[in-house]
Amino acid sequence: MAGFYLFAAAVLLLPWLGIDPYFITVVGVAAGLHIILAVGLNLLMGYAGQISLGHAAFFAIGAYASAILTTRYAWPGLLALAAGLVLAGSIAWLLARPILRLHGHYLAMATLGFGVIAHVIMVQASGWTGGPDGLGGIPPLNLFGWVVDSDTRWYAVMAAATLLALWLSLNIIDSRIGRALRAVRGSEFAAQIMGIDTARAKTQVFVVSALFAAFAGSLFAHQQSFVSPDSFNLAISVELVTMVVIGGMASTFGAAFGAIALTLLREGLVVFEDYEMLIHGALLMVVMIILPQGLFVGIGQGLRRVLALVLSRQP
């Protein structure tokens, strides 16, 4: 948990370091959102070894549940958030068994297909979702009378939500379920023989990671006060996977690191305009070829090796 306290201290200190407020309130809030998504996806990908190329769909379910229920039915924000969680969790639970029975590229295809279908529904079911133009006028989140309506307040809420996500993830990994998941990743067959109900373990982690995504989606809807299908397309699903893999799989802080790195990268590449896609793609390739285990994990291992070398040189 040392890493967690270090991270919490960093989050608390950040606004007082004299950095451009834009980076704290806009980039910081986006990074927090990405951390929740990446940490949740990492439970599924890094620990249980199951790929998902459709995670943006669960992000969308949370966002649209909040958007539709608060604007059309005047539900309070927290109740809509809870409804989004229930909906995303139920869909994940229903899908988990047939989808997680698949392996490797078949699983990638099925999750990708799920993401595309969800996106098509967002665009086409315009009576509910507002179609391609999206849905605006989402009221600010009201937390028991405290209205989250300024950038500073959003930073505080997102910081708390991010820390909650990290804390949950670290504890899940360290629990009985977490150990079962790691066994599944090692070898599903061997885990079964040791008496682990692998289908159940995979279903649980799929639901949990869907809940993380839906939670982030609800916050996103209130923070932007507008949602549209563009925020939940295949590119976003791919970007989430990239965050987990670039950071380093099977490491909660690796996923968080990847989320921050890609948020900053996207922010930094905007100045390149038309060159953005080219540079983004090239960077992904270079990182994956040089450090297949990810930046966070790879750099950590590298530093340890250098340290060991330096120590062994001393007489």
Binding site: G104, E188, L278, I279, M285
Partner: protein, 291 residues
């Protein structure tokens, strides 16, 4: 109504043939390297846009098409050398990210070269539609179907009748064993990438007169090709062809009878349904896991 159904069928088979070619490319690369190449759709886009650009420089259509195919093959070889060879044996997700990165690089390069505009190629042999029992058939559709059929037969003969093709298949069964019997695995890998880039480029050039091509035209085509390969059972070349045709026909029927906005959802719903009942595709063999 029967004429309408026939029309949907004709449209579906034409589109399906293109999916089949893209899916065939997926199967080839998967067989040689266990990698699903998410840049496959970008080969299709490159073939189309290069042919259009070369035609614009005054080359004749056959020459422009040939040059476009050759350049795309070179791009495929370059991709293999720069990105795939150094990462051989990496986990599945790493290779997925690498090929997605490669797809972004190709798309980004196309954006810089050709902008965001839509481009189109003139039909190979005129636009006068043929009448087929009440349904109209564009001459270009005949080109798509004919060339696809020819390429499928050639690929099949290549795997079944030539030593080179059998060597490539051997790599897919067991790379280490293939190397032990004297097959140069690296050469086979390059061969697979070159062939598959070439197949993609041909598909792109064939449909360029029917659809509009732009820098991001490869994304959906790549996904549909991947779906075709998965439905057929990945690494099964003929399965990919059947998968592509099925997907194309279903999509056309769905668009015509249900709703054109939902056609992609219908296609992917079909893929999900196939996977729920046949987790390794229609023709894929179940594999045993080694503990």
């Amino acid at each position: 109504m029967p004429e309408q159904l026939l029309q949907f069928l004709v449209t579906g088979v034409t589109v399906g043939a293109v999916y089949a070619l893209v899916g065939l490319g997926f199967a080839l690369i998967y067989n040689a390297s266990d990698v699903v190449n998410f840049a496959q759709g970008e080969f299709v886009m490159l073939g189309a846009l290069l042919a259009i650009a070369l035609l614009g420089t005054g080359l004749s259509l056959p020459l422009a098409a040939l040059a476009a195919i050759l350049i795309t093959v070179l791009v495929g070889l370059l991709l293999e050398r720069v990105a795939i060879e150094p990462a051989l044996g990496a986990p599945v997700v790493s290779t997925i990210i690498i090929t997605i990165g490669a797809a972004m690089v190709l798309r980004g390069a196309a954006l810089l070269l050709w902008g965001k505009d839509f481009h189109t190629l003139p039909s190979f042999s005129g636009d006068a539609p043929l009448n087929l029992g009440g349904a109209t058939l564009l001459p270009q559709s005949l080109w798509v179907l004919g060339v696809t059929a020819l390429l499928v037969l050639l690929v099949r003969a290549f795997f079944n009748r030539t030593l080179l093709g059998k060597a490539l298949l051997a790599c897919s069964c067991n790379r280490a064993a293939a190397q032990l019997v004297g097959i140069n695995v690296r050469v086979m890998l390059r061969l697979a990438y070159g062939l598959s880039a070439g197949l993609g480029a041909v598909a792109g050039i064939l449909i360029a007169p029917i659809t509009f091509s732009s820098y991001d035209a490869g994304v959906m085509l790549g996904l549909k090709g991947f779906s075709a390969a998965i439905v057929g059972g990945i690494g099964h070349p003929l399965g990919a062809v059947v998968g592509g045709l099925l997907l194309g026909v279903l999509e056309a029927l769905g668009a015509g009878l249900i709703s054109s906005g939902y056609k992609d959802a219908i296609a992917f719903l079909f893929v999900l349904m196939v996977l729920f009942f046949e987790p390794t595709g229609l023709f894929g063999a179940a594999s045993a896991e080694r503990v």
